[in-house]
């Protein structure tokens, strides 16, 4: 019986992330607009966008192959599964043991692999520029992310996000390594989600875009899936940051309905806080040149390494 209940909660988490993801993006866009003293689109605009895209016909290039049509489904599915495996309102759910943090990073890598291939499929120069830059960014962001995982797992003795979340709820104390890991993780999250200063999610100015260039040829339902995947990815990174660095309130599997409800409420609060900070940060900073990005991500990698090193200096807990 318990396992059925657990599976239901897991399924609930799967749906929660899917339903919340567009809301988060809409919220970030709204806050950004308000900070610029604009009215901005309403909160539910991303949902409307998705619905509208689903109703539109698909325009395929003549040179598009089967990979181009399959890729959106795979990208969406992989990202969705990865997002659902991160503890959001409850940790230690039955399927969360299917993948640890390294596997979640690698799942996102699979999604990116498909996306970059789809960018090359039609054979246009903008698709190529996007894929090429995306892979350059990823080649530094992924190791940086893994170094952060490294630090956390050395500290918590586990690479499972659920175990890390439970560990961080305990008396951890202030640690330099954690601070460095947080900074590194935020830098990676910004790069991975194609936010300012790495990439501009709002631009369609050809030479400054990375993510948008890859999906230039997509339309209709395919584009809807890819947009949904990128909403999910933003939610995923915010959830990871929330579950590791502000783990308070996350319910542990089997604590019952009330705990889940508290967890969900606090999760919403954390998301809105994170979204607010992201919007403020994005408004305050300017986009950087593409060839400054390696320095930025290199710094994140260094922070991850430094965090690991400093772990050895800090006293034994």
């Amino acid at each position: 019986m318990a396992i059925v209940l657990d599976a239901v909660v897991q399924l609930g988490q799967l749906l929660v992330v899917l339903l919340l993801a567009p809301l988060l993006t809409g919220y970030v866009r709204m806050v950004k607009a308000r900070l610029l003293r604009r009215q901005g689109p309403p909160l539910v605009q991303p949902y409307r966008d998705l619905l509208r895209l689903l109703r539109k016909e698909v325009v395929l290039a003549h040179s598009a192959s089967w990979l181009f049509r399959v890729a959106p489904y795979l990208i969406f599915a992989t990202t969705w599964v990865a997002a659902a495996l991160v503890p959001t309102f409850a940790a230690g759910l039955v399927f969360s043991y299917a993948a640890d943090m390294i596997a979640i990073v690698a799942l996102l890598g699979s999604a990116r692999f498909m996306l970059a291939l789809a960018g090359l499929d039609v054979g246009t120069s903008f698709g190529g520029i996007g894929s090429s830059r995306e892979m350059m960014i990823a080649s530094l962001a992924e190791p940086a992310m893994l170094m952060v995982v490294f630090t956390l797992s050395l500290l918590a003795g586990s690479t499972q996000l659920s175990s890390i979340a439970v560990f961080m709820q305990g008396p951890v104390g202030l640690r330099v390594s954690l601070a460095l890991a947080l900074v590194g993780l935020v830098m990676v999250a910004i790069a991975e989600n194609a936010r300012i200063p790495i990439d501009n999610p709002a631009t369609h100015l050809e030479l400054t875009m990375v993510h948008e260039a890859m999906i230039l040829e997509y339309s209709g339902r395919h584009l809807a899936l890819i947009e949904a995947a990128s909403y999910l990815k933003l939610l995923l990174y915010l959830s990871v940051i929330a579950c590791v660095f502000v783990p308070w309130g996350i319910a542990v599997s089997g604590q019952g309905f009330a705990a889940y409800l508290i967890g969900l409420t606090l999760y919403l609060v954390k998301l809105s806080g994170g979204g607010l900070l992201l919007a403020v940060f994005e408004t305050a900073i300017a986009k950087m040149r593409v060839f400054r990005v390696p320095d930025f991500l290199g710094a994140a990698l260094m922070l991850g390494l430094l965090a690991t090193l400093l772990l050895f200096v800090s006293r034994v807990a």
């Binding site: 325009v59 290039a61 192959s65 499929d121």
Partner: protein
């Protein structure tokens, strides 16, 4: 029993090789040789598989009265040998299957058919050998038969040079191994491995043996900076032989290293655990960076072999570090990760080389810049190549990810090591490993994207045809294995348990009885991975998305010219090429590692000349290590040239001087 079967298999292969010499030009020779090779290798594969799965510490030995009269030839099969025999024969079966189709396009079958079975036999024999003489003899046989296969198309530009460098490096490696066994056998001359195992070695001797094993086995496997021959020689051979050399022969080299260092040499010192992973990490990153700069599909794959050998050596080195500090459980994990990667790499590298071979037969091109759009003409090959690319890029749910994940788990155990330098070094190696995995993904986006996607860049690519059924069968078998080992890794890890048990005295906990076919290398609270569940989840999510979209969304699809921001260009030459794809990565890493410099020449305004961009890169290991040695040898040869034309008196003086010096040495020695 198993040993006899395997030796008979080897004998049949050798016989086939001999028989193929006169018969090679016959119409049916190709089918017969490859068909026989499939059958014999399949028997050998089954036998080795049975030995491995039966497990247990029992090893059977056999002594044949051939070779040196007072020594004979010793053969032995234990679980380590059985595992490597599985790798060798799995590669042989699929390569022969591929060869059934591919071999028909061979221009000069007489240059391939006799040596191919001999090569297979030699690789089996190296793994079975149980004394130093047999090991070295069969090792040399393996080198020479593969050299003959590399030289099969010796008139192609560059192949002769590749063969020459291969021969030089192979001789160097054998020489190093000769010295290593000489030291191991010692003054008493116990060349049988049993006698060597029973001896204890002093610190200096074992350090020198380690260095020699690294040179000998490392040069064959492709450790940086001894890798120079590999990307030249592997692509020069016919594609199924390239697959065998890259996927299997390098693994035999790894076997040689493991046999010498883990089995024969006795307990390691802790600094071995710093040296070997560092070499592995540097090899992994250098290999993938070299691969990124390549536009030749087969050479790119060969450089990826260098990368993966680096990953394997990271695992092996960690096992040494843990073993030196009496942490057998961690050592078993690291060793299992390395061996699992040995298996995985042999599977996906063979698959990728077969794919490259199929492309080569279909288009006659290895240069990616002249391909493109093959996914339309060769959809099946494109599909399996995609599976192989995802597997080698360590993407879940395929097998490459699992072994790299296990290596990471081993790295995460490093803080328990007592030495400070290891505590600091191993996380840095983890960063190198992560970097190489991410760069590998970039490299295979390039390899697959430029070769198979986009629009065809040449008429040859435009008129490509799907490859034959035999080749496709071989590739699909391997692609299925990539997925199978990725979603059911527990069974493969369990199969490796007796090997780890024999070498480290401990093994990774049994995975079979875990619920949901999960893998848990240390403890469930620490880390777990479930490829099957992930695969099912992804399939389920994709299926439900498809269902929802087909039910409610618009199904209308229209074909049109590409949008491309309103500037669709007619010529396929304006697509992103391999060179332009890697330009950002070249600017980030290449400017340091390869001293890459870009030179842009713009004609003055008003001039209609084309602008040119030249990229200059330097191969540092070559420039720093090999060029001076080559220069020195050339200088010495020039000097010695003068000796050719001396007077008789001068020659007599030389002989006399040599005699006196020898006598003096003898006198001083006593």
């Amino acid at each position: 029993m198993a040993l006899e079967v395997l030796l008979w298999c080897v004998a049949v292969l050798l016989g086939t090789g001999v028989a193929a010499v006169p018969a090679a030009t016959h119409r049916l020779a190709t089918s017969l040789v490859y068909g026989l090779a499939i059958g014999v290798s399949a028997i050998a594969l089954a036998t080795a598989g049975v030995v491995l799965l039966a497990g247990g510490p029992v090893a059977s030995t056999l002594k044949l009265p051939i070779g040196l009269p007072w020594l004979g030839a010793h053969f032995r099969i234990d679980t380590l040998a059985a595992f490597f025999l599985v790798v060798v024969n799995l590669g042989s079966v699929t390569a022969s299957l591929f060869g059934l189709g591919y071999g028909r396009h061979e221009e000069t079958p007489a240059r391939v058919l006799p040596f191919y079975p001999a090569f297979l036999a030699a690789m089996n024999l190296v793994v079975l050998a149980d004394d130093a003489f047999t090991f070295l003899f069969t090792w040399e046989l393996m080198s020479l038969s593969s050299w003959a296969l590399v030289m099969a198309q010796h008139r192609r530009p560059g192949n002769a040079e590749a063969g020459y460098i291969y021969l030089l490096m192979a001789s160097l490696g054998t020489l190093a191994l000769l010295f290593a066994f000489g030291l191991l056998a010692g003054a008493s001359g116990g060349y049988a491995f049993d006698a060597i195992r029973a001896t204890a070695f002093s610190g200096h001797v074992s350090a020198i043996v380690l260095a020699l094993a690294l040179i000998g086995a490392g040069s064959k496997a492709g450790l940086v900076p001894l890798h120079v021959w590999l990307p030249l020689a592997h692509p020069a051979a016919p594609s199924h032989v390239s697959a065998l050399m890259s996927g299997v022969m390098t693994k035999v080299a790894v076997y040689g290293f493991v046999r010498i260092v883990f089995d024969l040499l006795g307990p390691p010192s802790w600094w071995w655990g710093a040296l070997v992973p560092l070499l592995g990490g540097v090899t992994a990153v250098m290999g993938v960076l070299y691969a990124l700069m390549q536009h030749d599909l087969k050479r790119l794959l060969a450089y990826h072999t260098v990368e993966n050998i680096g990953i394997i050596f990271i695992g092996l080195g960690l096992a040494l570090a843990f073993e030196a500090n009496q942490m057998p459980a961690a050592a078993a994990l690291a060793l299992t990760a390395a061996l699992f990667h040995v298996f995985n790499h042999s599977v996906f590298k063979s698959l990728l080389f077969f794919g490259a071979g199929a492309v080569l037969t279909a288009t006659g091109e290895r240069d990616m810049e002249r391909l493109g759009g093959l996914i339309h003409r060769m959809p099946l090959t494109a599909f399996v190549f995609l599976v192989g690319s995802a597997a080698i890029s360590a993407l879940p749910p395929f097998n490459g990810f699992v072994s790299e994940w296990l290596t990471f788990q081993a790295i995460l155990l490093s803080p328990a090591l007592p030495q400070w330098s290891l505590k600091f070094l191993v996380p840095a190696i983890g960063a190198l490993l992560a970097l190489s995995a991410a760069l590998a993904a970039a490299c295979f986006v390039k390899a697959f994207g430029v070769t198979f996607l986009g629009r065809p860049r040449t008429p040859a690519a435009q008129e490509a045809k799907e490859t034959d059924r035999w080749s496709l069968a071989a590739m699909f078998v391997l692609a299925a294995l990539c997925l199978l080992a990725g979603i059911l890794p527990g069974h493969f890890i369990d199969a490796l348990a007796p090997v780890a048990q024999a070498l480290t005295g401990e093994n990774v906990p049994r995975q079979e009885q875990l619920s949901w076919l999960m893998i848990v290398p240390i403890a469930e609270s620490r880390s777990s991975y479930n490829g099957l569940l992930l695969f099912a989840f992804i399939a389920l999510a994709a299926w439900s998305a498809t269902g929802v979209i087909h039910r409610w969304a618009s199904a209308a699809t229209r074909r049109s010219p590409p949008w491309d921001c309103g500037y669709p260009d007619a010529s396929p030459l304006t697509q992103y090429t391999a060179g332009s794809f890697t330009q950002p990565i070249r600017r980030v890493f290449g400017s340091v590692v390869f001293r890459a410099r870009e030179e842009l020449r713009m004609p003055p305004p008003g001039d209609t000349q084309a602008a040119t961009l030249r990229v200059r890169m330097r191969d540092l290991p070559w420039d720093v290590l090999y060029a001076p040695i080559a220069g020195l040898v050339g200088f010495a040869a020039d000097q010695l040239n003068k000796v050719q034309s001396l007077t008789v008196r001068a020659y007599l003086t030389l002989v006399f001087g040599a005699l006196v010096i020898l006598l003096m040495v003898l006198g001083i020695w006593q």
